[in-house]
Symmetry: C2
Subunit: 220 residues, 2 copies
DNA sequence: AATTTAATTCACCGTGTGGTAACAAACAAA
DNA sequence: TTTGTTTGTTACCACACGGTGAATTAAATT
C-alpha cells in the first residue's frame, strides 16, 4: 500500500523528467544557443553527470527531448480526417489558405518551435532525423490528398506549396529579430492580416490554375 | 621614387585587409559559428590585439566587413535600368520569374551569403543594420516599380513577393543541411528546375491577377 | 544487520574563449 | 642621436565549457 509518495530522495524517472523539461524551458527562455551540458544541469537543478548516465550524451538527451514532442502532427490532424472532395471549390480554397495561415501562426507563437527550427538549420544533431520524420509524417499525407484531387494539374503544386510554407517559416524566424521585413510588419496584427490575405489570394489563384486542364502555364 | 614595395615589415593597411579577408574566408570555410577573436586572428596570421586596436571590437570588425560587401545591390541593378512598361505581359512575367530564380541561384551558390543570412537570424550584431540597409536599397526600388505598374491591384503584391522571396531564401539555407525538403530535391538540377517552373507559374498567375480590375480576390 | 546495488554529489582536469597589460621593435621627427 | 609615436609580440588573467574519477548516500537485497 503506497501512501502518496513520501518524496523519495532518489528518483531516476523524476530527474530524467527534470532534464527533459530543462531543455524545453531553456530553449524557450534563452534560445538554442544556450543549450549545453552545464546549462541544462543547472536549469534542472541536477548534476551534469546524470545527463551522461541517463542519456549517454547531450545529443542523446536532445534526441529524447525531440522524440516526446509533437510539433507538427497535431496541427494537420484535422486535415487528415476531412474529405476534400466533398467541398466546393471556394471552400477548398479557404481551407487551403487556413492551413497555411495556421502554420504561420503556430510558427509565430511557438518560440520553442522557432528555436528548434533554427537550430536544425545551423548544425546537425540528433534533432534532424527526428524532426524530419515528424515533418514527413504530417505533410506527406496532405500532399497526397491534393495530388489525388488535381491529378492533371499543369502546375507543380508541391513545389509551390513548399515555397510558400518555407516562406512563412522564414518570416516567423525573422520576426524574432526584425520588427519588419520588406515593408511587412511582422509583429503587428496588420502585418498578420496582410499575410493572411496574401495566402487567400495565392490559394485561389493556384488551386484554380490546378483545375484548368488546358496547359496554359508552360515554361519555355 | 618608390621601388615596388620592399615588403615593409609594418603595414597597418595590410593587416587591416588581412583581418577583413579572414572574416570572409572563415565564413566560407567554417561558417559563422566559427567566428571569434582568436579564430580570426589565427586565420589572418596576425595578433588578436590588433583587432581591438583597428576595429574597436569584434563587432566593429564584422560591421566593417559587411559594409565593404555588396550582397544584393548588384543583383538587382539590371532591373533598375529596365523599363517594365515597355514590355509585353508575357515578357514581364518572364522577367519577374527570372528575378526570383536568380535570387534563388545566388543564395544557393554563395556560401558566404548563406552564413551571413543565418547569422543575422540567430543573433543581433553589427551585421543587422548594415544588411537591412542593403536589402532595403535593393528591394524598395523594385517594389515601387511594380506598384506603379499595377496601381489598382486587387492583391497585395508586396506581401506575396515577400513570402516567395523568403521561401526561396529558406530553401537555400535548408539545402546546406538537408538534401531534400518536402519531396523537393534541393541539390539536384531536377529540383532546381521544379523551383524555376513553380516561379514561372506563380509569376504568371499573380501578375495576371494583379491586372484584373474586377475585385475577384476578396477575403471574407 | 550486513551487503550489494543504484542514484547523486563533489572535486578536478584540459581546453578554448574574450580581453588586457606590459614590453619590443620599426619608423618618423627633432 | 635622441625622442616620441606607431605597429606588432609576448605573456598572462578570469572564466565557461565539456568531460571524468572517485567518493557519498539512499534504497533494495540477502
Amino acid at each position: 500500500m503506497e501512501t502518496t509518495l513520501p518524496k523519495p530522495k532518489r528518483n531516476k524517472a523524476l530527474t530524467q523528467r527534470k532534464l527533459l523539461d530543462a531543455v524545453g524551458s531553456l530553449l524557450k527562455r534563452e534560445g538554442f544557443q544556450s543549450i549545453g551540458i552545464n546549462a541544462i544541469a543547472k536549469e534542472a537543478g541536477v548534476d551534469k553527470v546524470l545527463i551522461y548516465r541517463y542519456f549517454g550524451s547531450l545529443d542523446g538527451l536532445i534526441e529524447a527531448f525531440a522524440l516526446e514532442r509533437d510539433y507538427w502532427v497535431s496541427n494537420f490532424k484535422t486535415a487528415q480526417g476531412l474529405n476534400l472532395q466533398n467541398l466546393t471549390e471556394v471552400q477548398r480554397e479557404q481551407f487551403t489558405a487556413t492551413i497555411f495561415a495556421n502554420f504561420y501562426k503556430t510558427m509565430l507563437q511557438n518560440k520553442e518551435l522557432q528555436e528548434i527550427t533554427l537550430w536544425e538549420m545551423v548544425e546537425v544533431s540528433g534533432l534532424n532525423k527526428v524532426l524530419q520524420n515528424q515533418r514527413d509524417q504530417s505533410t506527406l499525407g496532405l500532399i497526397a490528398l491534393y495530388e489525388q484531387l488535381f491529378p492533371n494539374s499543369p502546375i507543380d503544386l508541391q513545389a509551390i506549396a513548399t515555397i510558400i510554407a518555407t516562406g512563412l517559416q522564414q518570416l516567423a524566424l525573422l520576426s524574432r529579430q526584425l520588427p519588419a521585413f520588406n515593408g511587412i510588419n511582422l509583429q503587428s496584427p496588420e502585418g498578420m492580416q496582410r499575410i493572411e490575405n496574401a495566402l487567400s489570394s495565392l490559394a485561389q489563384l493556384v488551386l484554380r490554375a490546378a483545375n484548368t486542364p488546358e496547359n496554359n502555364y508552360t515554361h519555355s
